[in-house]
């Protein structure tokens, strides 16, 4: 929006604080201010959309508070049925707009009653009312027509009521056809790098030296921005690794101005950081103690090196063989069973050859269902010795199912199973019992 002739709005005394509170959203704020404060008619309904953590809710909240508009703020996550939503709205109106603390009858069980209530409200209350709905994409789950009704409130009840909808999905995904009147669409783009530096400088608790902070943030963003542009995640990372960055400065080894040396110290920490982005590993004391037994504990970095789930699951020997048999059954096509289980290679046997791309497609499209006879036959084949009679195979299979390593599916009275573990997991399990699984898998063998 052309800001030249609109700067006079920015400098109005009551509105100026909003630009210092909500950073890097000048353009979007200008648009919203023009609509809300137009002075000539009622504000139209507004639909605010954009990716997660782009400041949508924050902007609208601050806009409402600083302009002192009578508004209610509803998060649609909190309501599981439409009655709860009506009740929630009524309660918010009573507390926040009418500022009445005593609890009158809050119950609206139908849409009709709710609209009657709103009609009465707008007769009594002279100013415009704003209703802000966060996570508006969930409204369609509650009541299929409620979204259309909300957007037609200006016609059904009173033009004074304005609805603001905030959502992560675009308007096309939400609207249900002709009955949903299109509101004013306002897009919030993701932040650019410079904007992120400004915002993180304000929100993270870093040192007092502004220059130092900005250098640090620029370096962190340079590394992490290619993976993650989410403001919340970057805030967490900037806060977490600040300790390591400033350690040499605090201990007096390095001066503040020697940024290159600081960077070389910091780089090794960043390597581990990059491998664990998004995966927040908690650091509570008990978890620490438990993990010390399993992993290398590096005192220097106060970090835990990568733990694998394998060390945490202990399986008896035959269960491991069963799991391997299940994996083979899931990922090998049925016709390949005969080929692999043959002890003696007969020259008259028909050898099925699959093309390489088809094998790869089978492999990559996931595990298949198999019957219990198949897993038992493979199991008996890969264990060459006799199995002692006190082993209960079926109990072991059911314990594997309850551990979610195999899934059970019973359609049409026909019981099938499917293996749910990854290739790395199976490889380490077979390594632990010195069994080589690769010759048995059709993907890895010759033909």
């Amino acid at each position: 929006m052309d800001c030249d002739h609109l700067t006079e709005i920015c400098f109005k005394s009551d509105i100026a604080p909003i630009f210092s509170k909500v950073l890097c959203r000048k353009e979007q704020l200008m648009q919203l201010l023009l609509l809300v404060d137009s002075g000539c008619s009622y504000c139209p309904n507004v639909f605010i959309y954009g990716q997660a953590s782009t400041g949508k809710t924050y902007t609208v909240e601050n806009l409402m508070q600083i302009l002192k508009l009578p508004h209610i703020f509803i998060n649609c996550l909190e309501s599981q049925s439409d009655r709860q939503l009506y009740r929630h709205i009524r309660k918010s109106i009573t507390y926040e707009i009418l500022q009445v603390t005593h609890d009158e009858n809050n119950y609206s069980d139908t849409l009709d009653n709710f609209l009657k209530y709103l009609k009465d409200l707008t007769m009594k209350f002279e100013k415009s009312i704003f209703m802000v709905f966060d996570n508006a994409d969930l409204i369609t789950n509650l009541n299929s027509t409620f979204l259309s009704v909300l957007l037609s409130l200006k016609e059904l009840v009173n033009p004074k009521i304005t609805v603001f909808l905030i959502s992560n999905l675009p308007w096309e995904d939400l609207s249900l056809g002709v009955n949903c009147r299109q509101p004013f669409l306002q897009f919030f783009p993701s932040y650019r790098k410079e904007e992120l530096v400004t915002i993180l400088n304000r929100s993270c608790k870093l040192s007092d030296n502004e220059q130092f902070n900005i250098v640090y943030l620029n370096e962190i963003l340079g590394v992490f921005l290619s993976v993650c542009r989410d403001l919340r995640e970057l805030n967490y990372l900037a806060q977490k690794y600040y300790f390591f960055y400033q350690k040499p400065v605090n201990s007096g080894e390095v001066q503040i101005s020697e940024t290159r040396i600081l960077w070389t110290h910091f780089r090794s920490h960043l390597q581990t950081a990059l491998s664990k982005i998004y995966l927040r590993e908690s650091n509570s004391f008990q978890w620490d103690k438990m993990n010390r037994r399993y992993a290398n504990y590096n005192d220097d970095t106060k970090e835990l090196s990568n733990l694998s789930t394998l060390d945490r699951i202990q399986l008896p020997l035959y269960s491991k063989y069963l799991l391997i048999a299940a994996y083979i059954a899931s990922y090998n096509p049925v016709a390949a069973d005969r080929k692999f289980m043959k002890q003696v290679k007969s020259s008259r046997s028909k050898v099925l050859t699959y093309s390489k791309s088809r094998k790869m497609n089978d492999w990559l499209s996931g595990p298949k269902q198999f019957s219990i006879e198949r897993i038992l036959s493979i199991f008996h084949h890969i264990i060459e010795d006799d199995i002692p009679t006190n082993i209960n195979i079926f109990a072991q299979i059911s314990s594997l199912v309850s551990l979610q390593l195999i899934s059970k599916n019973s359609d049409d009275n026909y019981l099938t199973y499917m293996c749910l573990v990854t290739f790395d997991f199976i490889r380490s399990i077979s390594k632990s019992i010195q069994f080589d699984i690769r010759p048995y898998l059709s993907n890895f063998s010759g033909s």
Binding site: S38, P44, S148, F187, P189, S226, T422
Partner: protein, 347 residues
């Protein structure tokens, strides 16, 4: 014509609000001021409706008839058994208490939605309010929306404003934009949303609507959300989208799983190992999950939900042209990624 005011009463029902026959019945009872409709056990719709009409007739002998207006009529056809419509049309034909039903709807095929028994009782009187303006009429509507009528404002001011609107309507760029909008849709709501921003921008220092304002407003309306979303992704997520695009080009079947995307992405990383960083698999999987959340990729409806997430069959909801456009506008896009988008790596 005889004076009919006061001789009939109007009842308004709305398909968006009364989503059920029972709610509709309660609403009719309320509007006709018949008490204790709620307390009476509703055995059948017809019985309760007859009761309402009876009590109304008893209480108001001077009113001759009832006019029922059903807004968003097509939603009433979705009720169970269409019992409301059936009873209403049935009562229309009985001489007891004459009622008239007017249904208002946007759908031209609304008669197809009615059941056979309901359709047979319908009088088949339809009034079409079709709106198909020519382009000149469209421009005339544009002018009439902006001009101010003479209602007590200063005459000179009024004339000056209306003259400036006339000039605006004859400006070449404005006519282009109106033509573009008109070709897209003749809906007047679109025209009004176009004019929303220029009107709000009017200030003391900017008392006219300039053609620039209208051009800007048009750009604002015709945004491609997917391209903007792609520009807001991180480089890793964008690379995954490019990998999916190459996969769809290679295979006849346009669905894929995470394992396939991972393999494709790894091929790219291995060939350009100096320029591109290598991320561990869980990080890549998390980026993939974030793409699902932004609705750029979608699982197929028949995906077996108990299967691991890595093996769900997904389809990509972005066109190659949108990817190309987003790459051009992406801030600081690494050149290796851009080249890979244009030249897929053949294994």
């Amino acid at each position: 014509m005889a004076d009919t005011t006061g001789k009939f009463v109007q009842v308004n029902l709305n398909g968006l609000i009364q989503t059920d026959d029972k709610l509709a019945l309660l609403s009719i009872g309320e509007q006709l001021e018949v008490e204790d409709v709620k307390e009476r056990p509703i055995k059948s719709f017809g019985e309760t409706f007859a009761y309402i009409l009876e009590s109304f007739k008893r209480a108001n002998p001077e009113k001759n008839s009832i006019l029922l207006v059903l807004d968003v009529f097509d939603l009433f056809a979705r009720h169970r058994n269409q019992s409301l419509l059936y009873n209403l049309f049935d009562t229309c034909q009985s001489a007891n208490l004459p009622i008239t039903v007017i249904g208002v709807t946007c759908r031209l095929d609304v008669l197809e939605l009615l059941e056979k028994r309901v359709k047979s009782r319908f009088s088949h009187r339809q009034i079409y309010l079709l709106h198909s303006p020519s382009f000149d009429q469209y421009v005339a509507i544009f002018k009439s929306l902006l001009k101010i009528e003479n209602k007590g404002h200063k005459l000179t001011h009024l004339k000056w404003w209306n003259d400036h609107i006339e000039k605006l309507a004859s400006d070449g760029s404005v006519v282009d934009i109106l033509r573009r909008l008109f070709d897209y849709s003749k809906d007047l709501r679109l025209l009004k949303s176009l004019l929303m921003m220029p009107v709000c921008v009017i200030q003391q220092s900017h008392p006219n609507i300039a053609p620039d304002d209208i051009i800007k407003s048009c750009k604002h309306i015709v945004k491609d959300y997917k391209v903007l979303l792609l520009q807001g992704l991180s480089v890793l997520e964008l690379s995954l989208i490019i990998a999916m695009k190459h996969l769809s080009d290679k295979r006849r079947n346009s669905t894929f799983t995470f394992e396939m995307v991972y393999q494709e992405y790894m091929q790219f990383v291995l060939t350009k190992s100096q320029l591109v960083e290598k991320f561990p698999r869980p990080v890549i999987f998390k980026a993939y999950e974030r793409l699902i959340d932004t609705a750029l990729i979608k699982p197929l409806s028949h995906t077996h939900k108990r299967l691991q997430k890595e093996y769900w069959q997904m389809s990509l909801l972005v066109q190659p042209t949108q990817i190309a456009e987003a790459l051009q506008k992406y801030p600081n896009c690494p050149t290796s990624v851009m080249q890979w988008a244009l030249n897929p790596i053949h294994s």
